[in-house]
């Protein structure tokens, strides 16, 4: 299969490969095996990763494979004068292609990085072809570049041949991101087919560092493939995830100022991959945007620091440190505000004061509701059987009676007074214990004055056992007995306290 691919490529190319293509057929069978293994690995990893990588990535990877195959086979190319033409052409082309690629997509840079690193490791896999690998990759790259534009990724591979060019590339994009982490991160976030960089890193992981694979395990739990993380990047990733979950420690950000871009996109990918965390996505996104701004600030601050080196730098540094700590504190507070906002019932307010207001009200109402529920769960089993008789009768009676208590706006501890006050009225309507109409009850609950009604109910009910719950409202065994005894219209001294 690979052989066919190779042949196709070569035929499609405009390059003078025809004589060489025949040449290729012979050495192919010998070297095809080891190339096939790599291609299988590449293809497998292609499958493992997101399908968005799809055809382009796969195609490019396969092109890689074919190029690999060709690399080994084209040993004879080194001597070929054609080769030099290609190299020169390619070298001339490479700087041109750089701005082209850098302009539209930052991802390409990462691709290049990935591939450059890949190429670094490549010699490990193909020790024989080290000299020829780089050079011989030129013609296929060049060829692919002409025939298939999307295969940007191949270019930087060839770019390694002139190592100086690669160095330039690296230095130029240093400020943007760090190597494969940025590339892989962008890959995931933008779903662009950075197939080759991934292929490269996959090759790397498979064939070189075992530590990387193990550290990739950490990345795996985030939904990334195991090939993703490099060593120091993994440390940073885990620290990043921790950071995103808790406080944002800027130290790591400061240490690598160039990682800002990767931070933000990483955060986004973290969102996508770890949606199960308690932190919701929108909070994450908000954090990410803050991350960006903060990271940018930190970066500028970090860059400022090494630049200034004099006596005055101490002051400015102290000021910067203060600013940083201030910013850190504010960010912590903002983070907590966001978390609080998540907890509150749907509120459109974004400004702090109204949010805090809402939080206060919400907490109060929650506390009230809980008290209600506690009373309800405590008293329900205590109801005595005869209460139902009183329900319809009390519907009318309670209405006007309920009004005073609603309007009284009394706090819970003052309920006993209220009960005393309503005893005479209610007793007048019905001699026995009162029962609240559930409808009334309902509205009262919504008015959040339920506590008074509840307490009233409890007061008239011969619930000696419930005194432990009633104590919440200041009911004690004494008061309960008082209520029970004072069902008859005998106003106590507390009578007229109803507002």
């Amino acid at each position: 299969m690979d052989n066919e691919l190779v042949e196709l490529l070569w035929e499609n190319g405009q390059i003078v490969l025809h004589p060489q293509s025949h040449h290729h057929h012979h050495p192919k069978p010998g070297t095809a095996d080891q190339q096939e293994n790599q291609s299988r690995q590449i293809n497998k990893h292609n499958h493992d990763q997101s399908m968005s990588r799809g055809s382009t990535g796969g195609g490019s990877c396969q092109n890689q494979v074919t190029s690999l195959i060709q690399d080994t086979e084209t040993v004879s190319w080194i001597d070929d004068p054609f080769d030099k033409e290609f190299t020169s052409d390619f070298l001339s082309e490479f700087p041109i292609s750089n701005p082209v690629e850098q302009g539209p997509h930052e991802d390409d840079k990462f691709k290049k990085f990935g591939i450059s690193q890949d190429l670094h490791n490549h010699p490990v896999q193909l020790p024989n072809d080290k000299p020829s690998d780089v050079i011989n990759s030129l013609p296929p790259r060049f060829h692919n570049f002409d025939s298939a534009q999307p295969n940007h990724s191949h270019l930087p591979r060839a770019a390694n041949a002139p190592l100086s060019a690669m160095a330039d590339l690296r230095s130029s994009s240093d400020g943007v991101s760090n190597r494969t982490l940025g590339g892989e991160v962008r890959e995931y976030s933008s779903a662009k087919t950075v197939g080759t960089s991934h292929c490269g890193s996959n090759l790397v992981v498979n064939d070189t560092d075992t530590s990387r694979v193990s550290s990739g395990g950490i990345a795996d739990h985030r939904g990334f493939s195991g090939a993703m993380a490099k060593d120091h990047r993994v440390g940073k990733m885990s620290s990043q995830s921790d950071r995103l979950q808790t406080d944002q420690t800027e130290e790591t950000a400061i240490t690598s100022s160039s990682s800002d871009g990767s931070e933000t996109s990483f955060g986004r990918t973290c969102n996508q991959s770890t949606g199960t965390n308690s932190h919701k996505r929108k909070s994450r996104d908000a954090e990410d945007s803050e991350c960006q701004s903060k990271a940018a600030e930190l970066e500028s601050a970090a860059r400022k620091k090494p630049a200034v080196k004099s006596g005055s730098s101490r002051k400015s540094r102290a000021a910067e440190v203060h600013n940083l700590s201030e910013r850190r504190r504010r960010d912590r507070i903002n983070e907590k505000m966001r978390a609080l906002q998540e907890l509150l019932p749907k509120s459109n307010k974004t400004d702090k004061a109204s949010m805090l207001d809402e939080a206060i009200e919400y907490m109060k109402s929650l506390q009230l509701q809980l008290q209600m529920m506690w009373m309800g769960s405590g008293m329900a089993p205590m109801m005595f059987p005869g209460v139902q008789h009183y329900m319809p009768r009390l519907g009318m009676g309670i209405g006007p009676l309920a009004m005073p208590s609603i309007h009284s706006q009394m706090h819970l501890p003052r309920l006993p007074l209220l009960d005393q006050a309503t005893i005479p009225n209610q007793a007048a309507l019905c001699h026995q214990t009162t029962m609240f109409n559930p409808m009334n009850y309902h509205t009262q609950l919504q008015n959040s004055k339920l506590s008074e009604q509840y307490a009233n109910y409890m007061a008239f009910h011969p619930l000696q056992n419930a005194s432990q719950q009633l104590n919440v409202f200041g009911f004690g065994p004494n008061t309960a007995q008082q209520h029970n005894h004072s069902l008859a219209p005998s106003g106590n001294s507390n009578g007229p306290s109803v507002g």
């Binding site: 929650l366 809980l370 309800g376 329900a380 109801m383 559930p438």
Partner: protein, 92 residues
């Protein structure tokens, strides 16, 4: 200081002073049982906010627990009894 500058910029735009926010934070602190016992001066805003979040979460948990209990109670009683009506109104 740049922070002061930025703060003035903010208050000019939003009319919300820091004192206002501090006031609210104090109010919030007094609602939270844990922080009520502490002397209010020492507690930082971030701590208050953190405790608020925790407290609200615990309240939510409590509400859920009680709701479960109440619904169990509801099932155990006759549906037309008064207490069932009360429980239902509690559960809303």
């Amino acid at each position: 200081m740049s922070s002061r500058r930025s703060r003035s910029r903010q208050s000019g735009a939003s009319r919300i002073t820091d004192d206002q926010i501090a006031d609210l934070v104090t109010k919030l602190q007094q609602l939270i049982p844990e922080l009520r016992r502490r002397r209010s001066d020492k507690v930082s805003a971030s701590k208050v906010l953190q405790e608020t979040c925790n407290y609200i979460r615990s309240l939510h948990r409590e509400v859920d627990d009680l709701s479960d209990r109440l619904s169990e109670l509801l099932e155990s009683t006759d549906s037309d009894s008064a207490q069932a009506a009360i429980i239902r109104s509690l559960l809303m």
